[in-house]
């Protein structure tokens, strides 16, 4: 975690020029294939995910978008029959290399899931789970981390008086922001979001979307969504997946106003999916 964030800062210093158009790539995916048993779920995926931007992944159900995002932190390997080929480089390092520890990857790359999944512990314990697991013991430091993370997830004001109550007492939207806070607590570089608002009501959804906008200053975000308006509202770049292939990947403005591919156009205008 330390090494990666340091290298990030170093590389930012090294670029020196105030050239805002130039963005660094945090994830480089090349020729990536994935199978569940004999069923191929992803075909020759090639896409670079930029640093400190929001990258949206859209597509109909079953197109492989969730599979893809779970491959980025290797959580997809929990499925026993999964097989993969091709390369995914995170911060220029091959994440499938035997030398690369999967725990290190997941410490640098946080994830927020479709359904809020707080641990059955108190709100406070949820937030400090990561730092505690990774060896931070001092109560004062943990308190600071908890406050900072909950503020970062725009939840602090709602829970500051009941930090030690069970997290299951929170509403769905609050639980999801708690999961984001839990993720922020270990200061990742990337946050992967797998349809984070699909189980939430519109007001909670708006809150999470605003949060994403604020977070992108400090984090690179990849967000899977089946909601095209959401992708258009919050993302800088958008990839359209269909049947396990990347059909089109470009700046969000362009993809939604002037797509290159006929299938993208059909999808975003609601002709299928």
């Amino acid at each position: 975690m330390q090494a990666a964030s340091e290298s990030k800062h170093v590389s930012i210093l090294n670029t020196n020029e105030p050239d805002k158009e130039e963005t660094k790539t945090i994830y480089a995916v090349d020729n990536f294939n994935l199978w569940y048993g004999d069923n191929q779920a992803l075909y020759d995926v090639k896409m670079d995910i930029p640093m400190n931007k929001v990258t949206a992944i859209i597509g109909p159900s079953g197109c492989g978008k969730s599979t893809f995002i779970k491959a980025l932190n290797r959580l997809v390997e929990l499925v026993p029959s999964v097989k993969m080929s091709g390369s995914i480089k995170y911060d220029d390092k091959d994440i499938f290399s035997p030398k690369y520890k999967v725990e290190d990857l997941r410490t640098n790359v946080g994830m927020v899931f479709q359904n809020p999944n707080p641990f059955p512990k108190s709100i406070y314990e949820n937030v400090i789970y990561g730092p505690k697991t990774h060896g931070i013991k001092k109560k004062k430091v943990l308190d600071e981390i908890a406050e900072k993370s909950l503020k970062g997830a725009a939840l602090w004001d709602e829970v500051k008086d009941r930090l030690h109550e069970n997290a299951f007492g929170l509403s769905g939207g609050q639980q999801q922001r708690l999961c984001i806070a839990r993720c922020l607590a270990i200061e990742p570089d990337v946050i992967l979001m797998d349809e984070p608002t699909s189980a939430l009501d519109p007001i909670s959804t708006t809150k999470i979307e605003e949060l994403v906008q604020n977070l992108k200053k400090d984090y690179s975000i990849a967000i899977v969504t089946h909601n095209m308006q959401q992708a258009a509202r919050i993302s800088d770049k958008t990839a359209f997946f269909l049947n396990g292939e990347v059909i089109e990947y470009s700046n969000t403005d362009k993809l939604f106003s002037n797509p290159d591919d006929k299938r993208t156009e059909d999808y975003i205008t609601g002709r299928f999916g």
């Binding site: 975690m1 932190n73 959580l75 929990l78 026993p80 725990e103 290190d104 990857l105 997941r106 410490t107 640098n108 946080g110 994830m111 899931f113 359904n115 999944n117 707080p118 641990f119 059955p120 512990k121 789970y129 990561g130 697991t133 990774h134 299951f168 999961c179 839990r182 993720c183 270990i186």
Partner: protein, 308 residues
């Protein structure tokens, strides 16, 4: 041929009268069946209570619960139950020292680490182990474990607390493993994924997230294990001896509450004698112990129940 659904359904309606009676009688029948077990329980408790009262008409209650000597035979009989309680607790403590770590570790392995194939084999095997008659465990203690222990410990008598204690523990392992495993497996996968996605290792997920999340079920399994160890009869009758003794020395021959009841019911006392009635008082004490344990286990699983 066209199937006339309406007509066929109407045919059934012609039997309606009979069906209506069945509809009314069936719940009554089910109720009677349920009442049988309730009545049996009440009956057992009443019998225990009546005979226990008879016993306490002859022996003082204070002597019973404070006396340190249990010698219910002959002229100078003394009825202090503490030696039987200490014998029971000694067996229980040894059993739990064996059963809790091994049972919990097995549960963690099965729930969090075992490949599905291994789990498919090991879980049924555990359940078979739970179905072995306890008399078999008793002979296992007497003819296998005790001789093994005699190699390690000099002058270990053939009847001692250690050997049956260990074997009672072995008997309880499957129960703790199986119940704890159920509790851990019912923690939803999304919580495992959430913890893994934070960079936790699988061991950290198991110990810091899953075990705490399943703690109510795990502790309930421990309490039920204790309850079984207290009530266990055959293993201790066969291998622990019949020397009531207020001691913490595990190498000595002892007697448990259950062991004493077996000894007396095998014909050591004539009907109507104080010795005869003493087994009811001991049985009552045993019942109170296991009742407390069962209530405790229910309380724990309710109080600390996690709704996911």
């Amino acid at each position: 041929m066209a199937v006339n659904v309406k007509e066929m359904m109407n045919e059934k309606k012609s039997n309606q009268h009979l069906l209506r009676i069945l509809e009314k009688v069936a719940p009554v029948f089910f109720l009677l069946c349920a009442i049988i077990s309730v009545l049996t329980t009440i009956g057992i408790i009443l019998t225990l209570l009546v005979e226990t009262i008879t016993f306490f008409n002859r022996v003082s209650f204070v002597e019973f619960i404070t006396g340190t000597e249990w010698w219910p035979f002959g002229e100078n009989a003394s009825y202090g139950i503490l030696p039987l309680i200490s014998g029971t607790l000694l067996i229980t403590v040894i059993a739990m020292i064996v059963a809790i770590p091994i049972g919990l570790a097995s549960a963690i392995y099965l729930s969090e680490f075992a490949p599905p194939k291994v789990r498919k084999v090991v879980k049924p095997v555990l359940e078979v182990l739970a179905g072995i008659p306890t008399i078999v465990y008793g002979f296992f203690a007497l003819t296998f474990v005790t001789p093994m222990l005699q190699i390690a410990i000099d002058d270990l008598p053939i009847f001692n607390a250690l050997s049956p204690g260990i074997v009672v523990g072995i008997m309880i392992i499957p129960m703790i493993a199986s119940l704890s495993e159920d509790a851990m497996s019912s923690v939803p996968n999304s919580i495992r994924e959430g913890a893994l996605a934070m960079g936790s290792t699988r061991l950290e997920v198991a110990l810091k997230v899953i075990v705490p999340a399943a703690l109510s079920g795990i502790i309930a399994s421990f309490v039920l294990g204790v309850s079984r160890a207290i009530g266990e009869t055959m293993i201790v009758s066969v291998a622990a001896g019949s020397t009531p003794k207020l001691t913490t020395d595990v190498t000595e021959s002892i007697q448990t509450m259950t062991g004493y009841i077996v000894q007396v019911t095998l014909g050591d006392a004539s009907y109507g004698s104080t010795t005869y009635y003493s087994i009811y008082a001991v049985g009552m004490t045993l019942f109170v112990f296991t009742l407390i344990m069962n209530l405790l286990s229910q309380y724990i699983s309710r109080r600390f129940k996690e709704d996911y």
